[in-house]
Symmetry: C2
Subunit: 324 residues, 2 copies
């Protein structure tokens, strides 16, 4: 649930006077989203989304996220577009927080994606990877392999109580990642959080991506690895190879993977499971129950991490190796 | 925060196929509201609100609320309008819950109402009271004086721990209400929950009321009494007589109060403070912290109850008694 900051009508009116988006007729807090406060604005010019950036977001990084959305849209990719103030700024201040307005992206996120959704996701992700090749800004992934051990150390003491044996498992995995994490794969801008709730569809066609606040420069295939975990497991915890195959097929229609990228998929997917397990475990053990942060049970990603640890060949994701 | 029930795109599409409201382009959970789950729907025909009625709502009472909104709108009062299904029904089922769609009411609720807002509120409330004189349905107020003692008994054991002396106070007040609650004042349909977040304004004009799910047949002046508590206290806890005067003046422009109604205002406002104190206290002491129900600290209404207990004359609310 994501209204951490209430905005009153007077401060909102003052804020909107810096924009050319018509006159406000209503605004409502949106329940979705876990990091920031989002309002849907209805004005005489249409619908917009207002985001107030809460304390987990580093203000200095906002230009990267907003310029990236603008860059992608100029290349024809669908995502919310930052709306500039009359003076050209894309970031203002509202209720003591950095705030920005973006255009409203039509579409809905799919609660139970099917095979065709996975294929479309792969295609759109590959287009995004290609479209951002010439994006001039850069941002390190602060949730990649180098951050996992410090994050883990904050949960480690309580981890075996949460899930028996977890400490030995994670220690083993971290040593593996630190020794073997790929360093020479193609890099570029990745979304890094393409969970189903950040991908909109309209009439069963992908209508765009939202929520670029984890976007960064990293290994392109790591974005695929995150999606294999987020889109291709069934509710019973089993990996659906048909969905994995569709995701990879959709991706390779636009950007075929190199042999090195294919071979790296198992370790990347294993690491991606670790990354989401670690942030969820930390929140679960650390964030007080009374807080508004939506905590997700880390168990799902402990299971995915265990699954990924067993994978030897990318063909186990459904990747067609026939052409190699 | 009010998304108790997530709705997936397939069940929503099936539900909407029973309506003539165009084709869905997006839906988002709304954070406001404490009793039910609300989604904002955007379709090719505009904006709508979808409500899923959660377990606190009695399904048998839904026709009263929905028909009342239809009745008021026919009389020219602004409120969300129920949208009927193709077969004429106003209530369907979605995600295992009764569900209804209403038109989208433009406007915003005022976080810090000023004197002019209070006057407009009074006027609109009086119009609503007159417009519902010929509303044919009836619903008892299940949160009126007869329900307060049973509700109190569920919290009484823990009440002194919450606020020292509360048990003696409430027992005294309940005896007072049970002996003296007015029985011969004009009755009709009241909203019974006209807090600022249920009253929308657009360009500083009242644009309508929402959330009729406490509406019932009761003493008309009790609706005023609820608003004296909800609109006319400042954040420091002091009653603002200028706001009280404006509310009553606005009301009497449309529907002048009888001498008996005026004299009853102190006991009605005292009782109204009791009613909201009791539900908040019950939720505070009883609803588990982990639940999604938004609990409100009862302290604010304990203070209002104490204030109202001291009131002898309606002139203390700012009521102009010169004409009497």
């Amino acid at each position: 649930m994501a209204v951490y900051t209430d905005v009153n009508e007077n401060e909102l009116a003052a804020f909107l006077s810096d924009y050319n988006i018509g006159s406000l007729t209503s605004y409502k807090g949106i329940a979705e989203g876990v990091e920031n406060t989002n309002y849907m604005l209805h004005t005489t010019k249409g619908l917009f989304i207002l985001t107030l950036y809460e304390k987990r977001v580093n203000v200095d990084e906002l230009p990267y996220f907003l310029e990236l959305k603008r860059h992608l849209a100029m290349k024809g990719l669908l995502c919310p577009q930052p709306v500039a103030q009359k003076n050209g700024d894309m970031i203002g201040e509202l209720a003591g927080r950095p705030a920005a307005i973006v255009t409203f992206l039509e579409g809905m996120w799919i609660r139970s994606p099917d095979v065709s959704h996975c294929e479309e996701l792969g295609t759109a992700m590959a287009k995004m990877h290609l479209a951002s090749v010439d994006f001039p800004m850069s941002r390190a992934n602060d949730l990649s392999v180098q951050s996992w051990r410090p994050l883990w150390n904050l949960s480690k003491d309580r981890a075996d109580n949460f899930s028996a044996g977890l400490v030995d498992e994670v220690e083993g995995d971290l040593a593996l990642f630190e020794a073997n994490w790929p360093t020479d794969l193609p890099r570029g801008v990745i979304h890094a959080d393409l969970f189903p709730d950040n991908v909109f569809f309209l009439n069963n066609k992908l209508s765009g991506f939202i929520d670029f606040y984890f976007a960064c420069n990293d290994i392109l295939a790591y974005d695929i690895a995150i999606c294999l975990n987020a889109w291709c497991f069934e509710k019973d915890g089993l990996f659906n190879m048909t969905k994995g195959a569709a995701l990879l097929r959709g991706y390779e229609k636009i950007r075929p993977l190199s042999a090195a990228e294919r071979e790296a998929l198992p370790i990347l997917a294993h690491g991606a499971a670790m990354r989401f397990m670690l942030t969820r475990l930390y929140d679960w053990l650390t964030v007080p129950d009374g807080s508004f942060v939506m905590k997700k049970d880390p168990t799902e990603y402990i299971r995915k991490m265990r699954f990924q640890r067993t994978i030897i060949s990318p063909s186990e994701y459904g990747l067609d190796l026939a052409g190699l």
